[in-house]
Protein backbone atom coordinates (compact mmCIF):
# COMPACT_ATOMS: atom_id res chain seq x y z
CA UNK A 1 0.00 0.00 0.00
CA UNK A 2 2.86 2.34 0.95
CA UNK A 3 4.64 1.42 -2.29
CA UNK A 4 1.59 2.36 -4.35
CA UNK A 5 1.27 5.66 -2.52
CA UNK A 6 4.99 6.41 -2.97
CA UNK A 7 4.84 5.60 -6.69
CA UNK A 8 1.72 7.75 -7.09
CA UNK A 9 3.32 10.67 -5.27
CA UNK A 10 6.55 10.35 -7.26
CA UNK A 11 4.51 10.33 -10.47
CA UNK A 12 2.64 13.46 -9.38
CA UNK A 13 5.82 15.33 -8.44
CA UNK A 14 7.43 14.30 -11.74
CA UNK A 15 4.44 15.62 -13.73
CA UNK A 16 4.56 18.97 -11.90
CA UNK A 17 8.34 19.17 -12.41
CA UNK A 18 8.03 18.46 -16.14
CA UNK A 19 5.13 20.93 -16.48
CA UNK A 20 7.22 23.66 -14.84
CA UNK A 21 10.22 22.77 -17.02
CA UNK A 22 8.11 23.00 -20.16
CA UNK A 23 6.85 26.43 -19.14
CA UNK A 24 10.41 27.62 -18.45
CA UNK A 25 11.59 26.28 -21.81
CA UNK A 26 8.62 27.92 -23.58
CA UNK A 27 9.31 31.24 -21.89
CA UNK A 28 12.97 31.10 -22.89
CA UNK A 29 12.05 30.11 -26.46
CA UNK A 30 9.49 32.91 -26.74
CA UNK A 31 12.09 35.60 -26.08
CA UNK A 32 14.96 34.26 -28.19
CA UNK A 33 15.63 33.27 -31.80
CA UNK A 34 14.64 31.42 -33.94
CA UNK A 35 10.99 32.45 -33.96
CA UNK A 36 8.53 30.55 -36.15
CA UNK A 37 6.21 33.41 -37.15
CA UNK A 38 4.32 31.34 -39.75
CA UNK A 39 3.36 28.76 -37.10
CA UNK A 40 2.22 31.52 -34.74
CA UNK A 41 -0.11 32.96 -37.40
CA UNK A 42 -1.39 29.46 -38.19
CA UNK A 43 -2.17 28.81 -34.52
CA UNK A 44 -3.88 32.19 -34.10
CA UNK A 45 -6.10 31.15 -36.98
CA UNK A 46 -6.75 27.61 -35.70
CA UNK A 47 -7.31 28.55 -32.07
CA UNK A 48 -8.96 31.93 -32.64
CA UNK A 49 -10.98 31.71 -35.83
CA UNK A 50 -11.49 27.96 -35.44
CA UNK A 51 -13.14 28.39 -32.03
CA UNK A 52 -15.32 31.31 -33.04
CA UNK A 53 -18.52 29.37 -33.77
CA UNK A 54 -18.57 27.32 -30.58
CA UNK A 55 -17.72 30.31 -28.38
CA UNK A 56 -20.26 32.63 -30.04
CA UNK A 57 -23.07 30.06 -29.76
CA UNK A 58 -22.19 29.29 -26.14
CA UNK A 59 -22.12 32.98 -25.27
CA UNK A 60 -25.43 33.75 -26.97
CA UNK A 61 -27.40 30.91 -25.39
CA UNK A 62 -25.85 31.44 -21.96
CA UNK A 63 -26.91 35.10 -22.01
CA UNK A 64 -30.37 34.12 -23.20
CA UNK A 65 -30.91 31.47 -20.54
CA UNK A 66 -29.52 33.79 -17.88
CA UNK A 67 -32.11 36.42 -18.83
CA UNK A 68 -34.88 33.79 -18.73
CA UNK A 69 -33.91 32.48 -15.30
CA UNK A 70 -33.17 35.82 -13.66
CA UNK A 71 -36.29 37.37 -15.17
CA UNK A 72 -38.47 35.03 -13.11
CA UNK A 73 -36.56 35.78 -9.90
CA UNK A 74 -36.45 39.52 -10.51
CA UNK A 75 -40.23 39.52 -11.05
CA UNK A 76 -40.65 38.52 -7.38
CA UNK A 77 -39.05 41.83 -6.41
CA UNK A 78 -40.58 43.87 -9.21
CA UNK A 79 -37.10 44.37 -10.59
CA UNK A 80 -37.54 42.96 -14.11
CA UNK A 81 -36.04 46.10 -15.77
CA UNK A 82 -32.71 45.30 -14.10
CA UNK A 83 -32.28 42.07 -16.05
CA UNK A 84 -29.65 43.74 -18.28
CA UNK A 85 -27.49 44.57 -15.27
CA UNK A 86 -27.56 40.98 -14.07
CA UNK A 87 -26.85 39.46 -17.46
CA UNK A 88 -23.96 41.80 -18.29
CA UNK A 89 -22.31 41.61 -14.86
CA UNK A 90 -22.56 37.80 -14.81
CA UNK A 91 -21.30 37.40 -18.36
CA UNK A 92 -18.38 39.82 -18.19
CA UNK A 93 -17.12 38.99 -14.72
CA UNK A 94 -17.69 35.26 -14.54
CA UNK A 95 -19.61 33.29 -17.13
CA UNK A 96 -17.93 34.69 -20.24
CA UNK A 97 -14.37 33.84 -19.15
CA UNK A 98 -15.24 30.51 -17.53
CA UNK A 99 -17.51 29.16 -20.27
CA UNK A 100 -15.13 30.30 -23.00
CA UNK A 101 -12.34 28.64 -21.02
CA UNK A 102 -14.29 25.40 -20.75
CA UNK A 103 -15.15 25.45 -24.45
CA UNK A 104 -11.49 26.06 -25.31
CA UNK A 105 -10.41 23.29 -22.92
CA UNK A 106 -12.68 20.90 -24.83
CA UNK A 107 -11.76 22.08 -28.28
CA UNK A 108 -8.19 23.37 -28.03
CA UNK A 109 -6.85 21.36 -25.07
CA UNK A 110 -7.93 18.09 -26.65
CA UNK A 111 -6.78 19.13 -30.13
CA UNK A 112 -3.30 20.13 -28.96
CA UNK A 113 -2.87 16.97 -26.86
CA UNK A 114 -4.05 14.73 -29.72
CA UNK A 115 -1.91 16.44 -32.35
CA UNK A 116 1.29 16.53 -30.29
CA UNK A 117 0.60 13.05 -28.89
CA UNK A 118 0.29 11.65 -32.42
CA UNK A 119 3.52 13.38 -33.37
CA UNK A 120 5.26 11.79 -30.39
CA UNK A 121 4.09 8.23 -31.09
CA UNK A 122 4.90 8.48 -34.82
CA UNK A 123 8.41 9.84 -34.12
CA UNK A 124 7.62 13.20 -35.74
CA UNK A 125 8.86 15.05 -32.64
CA UNK A 126 12.16 13.16 -32.82
CA UNK A 127 12.26 13.88 -36.56
CA UNK A 128 11.93 17.60 -35.78
CA UNK A 129 14.82 17.39 -33.33
CA UNK A 130 16.90 15.40 -35.82
CA UNK A 131 16.25 18.13 -38.41
CA UNK A 132 17.58 20.75 -36.01
CA UNK A 133 14.26 22.16 -34.78
CA UNK A 134 13.45 22.65 -31.12
CA UNK A 135 9.90 21.24 -30.70
CA UNK A 136 9.19 23.74 -27.91
CA UNK A 137 9.91 26.69 -30.22
CA UNK A 138 8.11 25.20 -33.19
CA UNK A 139 5.06 23.64 -31.51
CA UNK A 140 4.61 24.90 -27.95
CA UNK A 141 5.38 28.62 -28.24
CA UNK A 142 2.94 29.31 -31.13
CA UNK A 143 0.12 27.45 -29.36
CA UNK A 144 0.70 29.19 -26.03
CA UNK A 145 0.90 32.63 -27.66
CA UNK A 146 -2.30 31.92 -29.58
CA UNK A 147 -4.02 30.77 -26.36
CA UNK A 148 -2.81 33.82 -24.44
CA UNK A 149 -4.02 36.37 -26.95
CA UNK A 150 -7.03 34.69 -28.57
CA UNK A 151 -8.78 33.61 -25.35
CA UNK A 152 -9.44 37.26 -24.30
CA UNK A 153 -10.65 38.13 -27.81
CA UNK A 154 -13.00 35.14 -27.85
CA UNK A 155 -14.21 35.96 -24.35
CA UNK A 156 -15.07 39.53 -25.34
CA UNK A 157 -17.06 38.12 -28.26
CA UNK A 158 -18.80 35.60 -25.99
CA UNK A 159 -19.66 38.42 -23.56
CA UNK A 160 -21.05 40.55 -26.36
CA UNK A 161 -23.13 37.71 -27.77
CA UNK A 162 -24.29 36.78 -24.26
CA UNK A 163 -25.52 40.32 -23.64
CA UNK A 164 -27.20 40.24 -27.05
CA UNK A 165 -28.86 36.92 -26.17
CA UNK A 166 -30.06 38.46 -22.91
CA UNK A 167 -31.42 41.49 -24.81
CA UNK A 168 -33.30 39.16 -27.17
CA UNK A 169 -35.08 37.44 -24.27
CA UNK A 170 -35.52 40.68 -22.29
CA UNK A 171 -37.19 42.47 -25.18
CA UNK A 172 -39.23 39.71 -26.84
CA UNK A 173 -40.09 37.50 -23.86
CA UNK A 174 -39.87 39.64 -20.72
CA UNK A 175 -41.17 42.76 -22.53
CA UNK A 176 -38.48 45.01 -21.09
CA UNK A 177 -37.86 48.16 -23.14
CA UNK A 178 -34.75 47.88 -25.27
CA UNK A 179 -33.41 51.28 -24.17
CA UNK A 180 -33.91 50.34 -20.53
CA UNK A 181 -31.95 47.12 -21.04
CA UNK A 182 -28.94 48.91 -22.56
CA UNK A 183 -29.05 51.80 -20.10
CA UNK A 184 -29.05 49.43 -17.13
CA UNK A 185 -25.96 47.71 -18.56
CA UNK A 186 -24.05 50.96 -19.06
CA UNK A 187 -25.01 52.16 -15.59
CA UNK A 188 -23.75 49.12 -13.76
CA UNK A 189 -20.54 48.31 -15.63
CA UNK A 190 -17.32 49.61 -14.12
CA UNK A 191 -13.68 49.48 -15.19
CA UNK A 192 -12.74 46.76 -12.69
CA UNK A 193 -15.35 44.49 -14.37
CA UNK A 194 -13.66 44.97 -17.72
CA UNK A 195 -10.24 44.21 -16.21
CA UNK A 196 -11.58 41.09 -14.55
CA UNK A 197 -13.16 40.02 -17.84
CA UNK A 198 -9.86 40.42 -19.68
CA UNK A 199 -7.28 39.20 -17.15
CA UNK A 200 -9.11 35.94 -16.46
CA UNK A 201 -9.22 34.63 -20.08
CA UNK A 202 -5.58 35.67 -20.57
CA UNK A 203 -4.58 33.35 -17.72
CA UNK A 204 -7.05 30.62 -18.69
CA UNK A 205 -5.78 30.59 -22.29
CA UNK A 206 -2.26 30.11 -20.97
CA UNK A 207 -3.27 27.28 -18.63
CA UNK A 208 -5.29 25.43 -21.30
CA UNK A 209 -2.57 25.52 -23.96
CA UNK A 210 0.33 24.71 -21.65
CA UNK A 211 -1.55 21.73 -20.18
CA UNK A 212 -2.47 20.52 -23.69
CA UNK A 213 1.17 20.78 -24.83
CA UNK A 214 2.53 19.16 -21.66
CA UNK A 215 0.13 16.21 -21.80
CA UNK A 216 0.60 15.78 -25.56
CA UNK A 217 4.39 15.79 -25.43
CA UNK A 218 4.41 13.22 -22.62
CA UNK A 219 2.25 10.76 -24.55
CA UNK A 220 3.35 7.13 -24.35
CA UNK A 221 1.95 3.92 -25.75
CA UNK A 222 0.80 4.32 -29.36
CA UNK A 223 -2.71 5.27 -30.44
CA UNK A 224 -4.15 4.14 -27.12
CA UNK A 225 -1.80 6.59 -25.44
CA UNK A 226 -2.99 9.39 -27.72
CA UNK A 227 -6.58 8.70 -26.66
CA UNK A 228 -5.54 8.69 -23.01
CA UNK A 229 -3.64 11.97 -23.40
CA UNK A 230 -6.59 13.63 -25.10
CA UNK A 231 -8.93 12.68 -22.26
CA UNK A 232 -6.38 13.69 -19.63
CA UNK A 233 -5.82 17.06 -21.29
CA UNK A 234 -9.54 17.87 -21.36
CA UNK A 235 -10.09 16.75 -17.77
CA UNK A 236 -6.98 18.51 -16.41
CA UNK A 237 -7.53 21.76 -18.29
CA UNK A 238 -11.27 21.87 -17.43
CA UNK A 239 -10.55 21.40 -13.73
CA UNK A 240 -7.71 23.92 -14.00
CA UNK A 241 -10.07 26.47 -15.59
CA UNK A 242 -12.47 26.24 -12.66
CA UNK A 243 -9.70 26.24 -10.05
CA UNK A 244 -7.68 29.07 -11.61
CA UNK A 245 -10.90 31.07 -12.02
CA UNK A 246 -11.61 30.75 -8.30
CA UNK A 247 -8.15 31.86 -7.20
CA UNK A 248 -8.01 34.65 -9.78
CA UNK A 249 -11.44 35.93 -8.75
CA UNK A 250 -10.30 35.99 -5.14
CA UNK A 251 -7.12 37.85 -6.08
CA UNK A 252 -8.76 40.31 -8.47
CA UNK A 253 -11.55 41.20 -6.02
CA UNK A 254 -8.84 42.10 -3.51
CA UNK A 255 -6.85 44.11 -6.02
CA UNK A 256 -9.55 45.80 -8.10
CA UNK A 257 -12.56 46.44 -5.87
Amino acid sequence: MLDILTTWLKGGVLEVQEYVRLQAAALQAAVSRPFYARDVVEQFDQIGIGSLTVVVLTGFFTGAVLALQTGITLDNFGARPFVGQLVSASMIRELGPVLTGLMLAGRIGSGIAAELGSMVVTDQINALRALGTDPVRKLVVPRVLAGLFMAPVLTVLADALGILGGWFIAVFQLRVASSLYWTSIVDVLALPDAWMGLIKPFCLGYVITTIGCHVGLRTKGGTQGVGRSTTNAVVASSVAVIAVDFFLTRLLITLLY
Binding site: D123, N126, L131
Partner: protein, 281 residues
Protein backbone atom coordinates in the same frame (compact mmCIF):
# COMPACT_ATOMS: atom_id res chain seq x y z
CA UNK B 1 32.75 -12.35 -29.48
CA UNK B 2 34.25 -12.30 -32.97
CA UNK B 3 36.10 -9.07 -33.51
CA UNK B 4 38.27 -7.99 -36.38
CA UNK B 5 40.76 -5.13 -36.11
CA UNK B 6 39.31 -2.05 -37.77
CA UNK B 7 42.56 -1.39 -39.66
CA UNK B 8 42.07 -4.59 -41.69
CA UNK B 9 38.91 -3.19 -43.23
CA UNK B 10 40.11 0.20 -44.44
CA UNK B 11 38.79 1.03 -47.89
CA UNK B 12 41.34 1.82 -50.56
CA UNK B 13 42.70 5.35 -50.28
CA UNK B 14 41.55 6.02 -46.71
CA UNK B 15 44.30 7.06 -44.30
CA UNK B 16 44.67 4.97 -41.14
CA UNK B 17 44.97 8.14 -39.05
CA UNK B 18 41.59 9.43 -40.26
CA UNK B 19 39.45 10.33 -37.25
CA UNK B 20 36.17 8.46 -36.87
CA UNK B 21 32.91 10.06 -37.95
CA UNK B 22 31.21 8.34 -35.01
CA UNK B 23 32.75 6.69 -31.98
CA UNK B 24 31.08 4.90 -29.08
CA UNK B 25 33.24 3.81 -26.14
CA UNK B 26 31.82 1.50 -23.47
CA UNK B 27 28.34 3.03 -23.75
CA UNK B 28 25.73 1.74 -21.30
CA UNK B 29 22.09 2.60 -20.77
CA UNK B 30 19.43 1.23 -18.44
CA UNK B 31 15.80 2.09 -17.78
CA UNK B 32 14.96 1.27 -14.16
CA UNK B 33 16.00 -2.38 -13.76
CA UNK B 34 16.16 -3.11 -17.47
CA UNK B 35 19.58 -2.97 -19.15
CA UNK B 36 19.22 -1.68 -22.71
CA UNK B 37 22.88 -1.32 -23.69
CA UNK B 38 26.00 -2.52 -21.91
CA UNK B 39 29.58 -1.61 -22.81
CA UNK B 40 28.85 -1.01 -26.49
CA UNK B 41 31.91 0.23 -28.34
CA UNK B 42 32.59 0.80 -32.03
CA UNK B 43 34.03 3.35 -34.39
CA UNK B 44 32.80 4.32 -37.83
CA UNK B 45 35.15 6.00 -40.28
CA UNK B 46 33.94 8.66 -42.72
CA UNK B 47 32.42 7.16 -45.86
CA UNK B 48 31.96 3.74 -44.26
CA UNK B 49 28.79 1.82 -43.50
CA UNK B 50 27.99 0.13 -40.21
CA UNK B 51 25.12 -2.34 -40.22
CA UNK B 52 23.66 -3.05 -36.79
CA UNK B 53 21.74 -6.30 -36.60
CA UNK B 54 19.84 -7.85 -33.74
CA UNK B 55 16.52 -9.14 -32.57
CA UNK B 56 13.71 -6.79 -31.56
CA UNK B 57 14.50 -5.13 -28.23
CA UNK B 58 18.23 -5.78 -28.49
CA UNK B 59 19.03 -2.05 -28.34
CA UNK B 60 19.69 -1.30 -32.03
CA UNK B 61 17.51 1.80 -32.38
CA UNK B 62 18.66 3.02 -28.96
CA UNK B 63 22.17 3.43 -30.38
CA UNK B 64 20.87 5.82 -33.04
CA UNK B 65 18.92 7.83 -30.45
CA UNK B 66 22.06 8.10 -28.32
CA UNK B 67 24.15 9.25 -31.30
CA UNK B 68 21.60 11.97 -32.06
CA UNK B 69 21.53 12.97 -28.40
CA UNK B 70 17.83 12.23 -27.87
CA UNK B 71 18.85 10.20 -24.84
CA UNK B 72 21.95 10.43 -22.65
CA UNK B 73 23.88 7.25 -21.80
CA UNK B 74 24.37 6.22 -18.18
CA UNK B 75 28.03 5.58 -18.89
CA UNK B 76 30.59 5.70 -21.68
CA UNK B 77 31.55 8.25 -24.30
CA UNK B 78 29.94 9.17 -27.64
CA UNK B 79 31.79 11.29 -30.18
CA UNK B 80 30.46 12.60 -33.48
CA UNK B 81 33.06 14.17 -35.79
CA UNK B 82 35.41 14.22 -32.81
CA UNK B 83 33.00 16.19 -30.57
CA UNK B 84 31.83 14.58 -27.38
CA UNK B 85 28.02 14.60 -27.58
CA UNK B 86 26.98 12.58 -24.53
CA UNK B 87 27.54 15.60 -22.27
CA UNK B 88 26.37 18.28 -24.72
CA UNK B 89 23.42 20.61 -24.12
CA UNK B 90 20.42 20.43 -26.46
CA UNK B 91 21.43 23.75 -28.04
CA UNK B 92 24.93 22.47 -28.91
CA UNK B 93 23.49 19.18 -30.14
CA UNK B 94 21.50 21.11 -32.76
CA UNK B 95 24.83 22.11 -34.34
CA UNK B 96 26.04 18.48 -34.37
CA UNK B 97 22.71 17.28 -35.80
CA UNK B 98 23.14 19.68 -38.72
CA UNK B 99 25.53 17.14 -40.26
CA UNK B 100 23.35 14.10 -39.51
CA UNK B 101 20.31 12.87 -41.40
CA UNK B 102 17.96 10.32 -39.85
CA UNK B 103 15.52 7.98 -41.54
CA UNK B 104 12.97 6.87 -38.97
CA UNK B 105 11.09 3.63 -38.77
CA UNK B 106 7.79 4.23 -40.67
CA UNK B 107 9.30 7.43 -42.14
CA UNK B 108 8.01 9.91 -39.52
CA UNK B 109 6.97 12.34 -42.25
CA UNK B 110 5.11 15.46 -41.12
CA UNK B 111 1.46 14.73 -41.94
CA UNK B 112 0.48 18.36 -42.38
CA UNK B 113 3.23 19.14 -44.90
CA UNK B 114 3.47 18.17 -48.56
CA UNK B 115 6.26 15.95 -49.90
CA UNK B 116 8.16 19.05 -51.07
CA UNK B 117 7.78 20.73 -47.68
CA UNK B 118 8.86 17.55 -45.88
CA UNK B 119 11.93 17.07 -48.04
CA UNK B 120 12.93 20.72 -47.93
CA UNK B 121 12.00 21.20 -44.27
CA UNK B 122 15.52 21.66 -42.94
CA UNK B 123 16.43 24.05 -45.73
CA UNK B 124 13.15 26.01 -45.48
CA UNK B 125 13.06 26.31 -41.71
CA UNK B 126 16.59 26.08 -40.39
CA UNK B 127 19.02 27.27 -43.03
CA UNK B 128 17.60 30.47 -44.47
CA UNK B 129 18.11 29.14 -48.02
CA UNK B 130 16.08 31.15 -50.58
CA UNK B 131 12.81 29.33 -51.48
CA UNK B 132 13.81 29.03 -55.15
CA UNK B 133 17.04 27.23 -54.24
CA UNK B 134 15.20 24.99 -51.80
CA UNK B 135 12.69 24.02 -54.49
CA UNK B 136 15.50 23.19 -56.91
CA UNK B 137 17.25 21.04 -54.30
CA UNK B 138 13.97 19.27 -53.44
CA UNK B 139 13.37 18.50 -57.13
CA UNK B 140 16.94 17.24 -57.45
CA UNK B 141 16.68 14.98 -54.40
CA UNK B 142 13.27 13.61 -55.36
CA UNK B 143 14.62 12.95 -58.86
CA UNK B 144 17.52 11.04 -57.27
CA UNK B 145 15.11 8.69 -55.50
CA UNK B 146 12.70 8.54 -58.44
CA UNK B 147 9.73 10.34 -56.86
CA UNK B 148 9.83 13.64 -58.75
CA UNK B 149 6.20 13.22 -59.83
CA UNK B 150 5.01 13.17 -56.20
CA UNK B 151 6.51 16.51 -55.19
CA UNK B 152 3.18 18.18 -54.40
CA UNK B 153 1.43 15.14 -52.91
CA UNK B 154 0.65 14.80 -49.22
CA UNK B 155 2.29 11.95 -47.25
CA UNK B 156 -1.12 10.29 -46.79
CA UNK B 157 -1.29 9.83 -50.58
CA UNK B 158 1.93 7.78 -50.69
CA UNK B 159 2.48 4.04 -50.32
CA UNK B 160 4.62 2.66 -47.48
CA UNK B 161 7.67 2.30 -49.73
CA UNK B 162 7.26 5.78 -51.17
CA UNK B 163 7.03 7.23 -47.65
CA UNK B 164 10.34 5.57 -46.69
CA UNK B 165 11.98 6.90 -49.86
CA UNK B 166 10.67 10.41 -49.14
CA UNK B 167 12.08 10.02 -45.62
CA UNK B 168 15.46 9.20 -47.19
CA UNK B 169 15.10 12.23 -49.47
CA UNK B 170 14.36 14.41 -46.43
CA UNK B 171 17.40 13.03 -44.60
CA UNK B 172 19.72 13.72 -47.57
CA UNK B 173 18.30 17.09 -48.71
CA UNK B 174 20.60 19.21 -46.57
CA UNK B 175 23.61 17.11 -47.74
CA UNK B 176 24.59 15.68 -44.34
CA UNK B 177 27.83 13.76 -44.03
CA UNK B 178 26.18 11.06 -41.91
CA UNK B 179 22.81 9.31 -42.35
CA UNK B 180 21.29 6.99 -39.76
CA UNK B 181 18.68 4.48 -40.96
CA UNK B 182 16.32 3.02 -38.37
CA UNK B 183 14.64 -0.10 -39.79
CA UNK B 184 14.18 1.67 -43.13
CA UNK B 185 12.85 -1.48 -44.83
CA UNK B 186 10.86 -3.12 -42.04
CA UNK B 187 7.31 -3.91 -43.05
CA UNK B 188 7.95 -3.44 -46.77
CA UNK B 189 7.49 -6.11 -49.41
CA UNK B 190 10.80 -7.52 -50.81
CA UNK B 191 10.65 -5.58 -54.08
CA UNK B 192 9.99 -2.22 -52.39
CA UNK B 193 12.62 -3.04 -49.75
CA UNK B 194 15.21 -3.56 -52.50
CA UNK B 195 14.29 -0.14 -53.95
CA UNK B 196 14.95 1.46 -50.55
CA UNK B 197 18.21 -0.55 -50.21
CA UNK B 198 19.33 0.78 -53.58
CA UNK B 199 18.79 4.37 -52.44
CA UNK B 200 20.99 3.66 -49.42
CA UNK B 201 23.67 2.16 -51.68
CA UNK B 202 23.49 5.13 -54.05
CA UNK B 203 23.95 7.60 -51.20
CA UNK B 204 26.89 5.63 -49.84
CA UNK B 205 28.72 5.11 -53.14
CA UNK B 206 27.82 8.24 -55.10
CA UNK B 207 27.51 10.83 -52.33
CA UNK B 208 30.10 9.24 -49.99
CA UNK B 209 27.69 9.43 -47.05
CA UNK B 210 28.73 7.74 -43.80
CA UNK B 211 25.87 5.42 -42.79
CA UNK B 212 24.63 3.44 -39.85
CA UNK B 213 21.90 1.01 -40.83
CA UNK B 214 19.82 -0.56 -38.11
CA UNK B 215 17.82 -3.53 -39.26
CA UNK B 216 16.78 -7.05 -38.41
CA UNK B 217 16.24 -7.87 -42.08
CA UNK B 218 19.28 -9.95 -43.02
CA UNK B 219 18.37 -9.96 -46.69
CA UNK B 220 18.55 -6.15 -46.82
CA UNK B 221 21.71 -6.00 -44.72
CA UNK B 222 23.59 -8.38 -47.01
CA UNK B 223 22.16 -6.76 -50.16
CA UNK B 224 23.51 -3.35 -49.06
CA UNK B 225 26.87 -4.86 -48.11
CA UNK B 226 27.34 -6.85 -51.30
CA UNK B 227 26.18 -4.33 -53.93
CA UNK B 228 27.52 -1.05 -55.16
CA UNK B 229 26.26 1.84 -57.24
CA UNK B 230 28.17 2.91 -60.35
CA UNK B 231 27.54 5.68 -62.83
CA UNK B 232 27.02 4.46 -66.37
CA UNK B 233 26.85 7.62 -68.42
CA UNK B 234 23.82 9.50 -67.12
CA UNK B 235 22.37 6.36 -65.54
CA UNK B 236 23.13 4.82 -62.17
CA UNK B 237 23.40 1.04 -61.99
CA UNK B 238 23.40 -1.19 -58.93
CA UNK B 239 25.76 -4.13 -59.44
CA UNK B 240 27.27 -6.88 -57.32
CA UNK B 241 30.29 -5.50 -55.46
CA UNK B 242 33.70 -7.11 -55.67
CA UNK B 243 34.98 -8.91 -52.58
CA UNK B 244 37.04 -5.98 -51.31
CA UNK B 245 34.13 -3.55 -51.63
CA UNK B 246 31.73 -6.02 -49.99
CA UNK B 247 34.08 -6.39 -47.01
CA UNK B 248 34.06 -2.62 -46.41
CA UNK B 249 30.61 -2.76 -44.81
CA UNK B 250 30.98 -3.49 -41.12
CA UNK B 251 28.42 -5.60 -39.24
CA UNK B 252 27.59 -5.44 -35.57
CA UNK B 253 25.27 -7.98 -33.99
CA UNK B 254 23.62 -6.96 -30.73
CA UNK B 255 22.36 -9.48 -28.24
CA UNK B 256 20.60 -8.30 -25.08
CA UNK B 257 22.27 -4.91 -25.30
CA UNK B 258 25.80 -6.25 -25.80
CA UNK B 259 27.90 -6.50 -28.96
CA UNK B 260 27.88 -10.20 -29.83
CA UNK B 261 29.76 -9.86 -33.13
CA UNK B 262 31.71 -7.26 -35.06
CA UNK B 263 33.13 -7.95 -38.48
CA UNK B 264 32.38 -7.95 -42.19
CA UNK B 265 29.81 -9.91 -44.21
CA UNK B 266 32.17 -12.84 -44.94
CA UNK B 267 33.11 -13.17 -41.28
CA UNK B 268 29.47 -13.04 -40.23
CA UNK B 269 28.57 -15.81 -42.66
CA UNK B 270 31.50 -17.93 -41.44
CA UNK B 271 30.68 -17.53 -37.74
CA UNK B 272 30.40 -20.64 -35.55
CA UNK B 273 28.51 -18.91 -32.74
CA UNK B 274 25.27 -20.82 -32.19
CA UNK B 275 23.15 -17.69 -31.53
CA UNK B 276 24.44 -15.96 -34.66
CA UNK B 277 23.89 -19.11 -36.71
CA UNK B 278 20.30 -19.28 -35.46
CA UNK B 279 19.80 -15.62 -36.33
CA UNK B 280 21.28 -16.11 -39.78
CA UNK B 281 19.37 -19.27 -40.57
Amino acid sequence: MDRQPTEDRQPTGVQLVESPAIELARVSLSFDESVVLQDVSFTLLPGHTKIILGASGSGKSTILKLILGFWKPDGGIIRVRGERTDTMSERDLMRVRADIGMVFQEGALFDSLSVAENVGYKLYEESGTPPGDVRRRVEQVLGFIGLADYIDNMPSELSGGQRRRVAIARAMAAKPGIILYDEATTGLDPITAITVDEEIIKLRDLERVTSIIVTHQLRDAFYIATHEAIRDGSRVRIVAADEQKADEAEFIMLRNGRVAFEGNASELRATHDSYLKTFLS
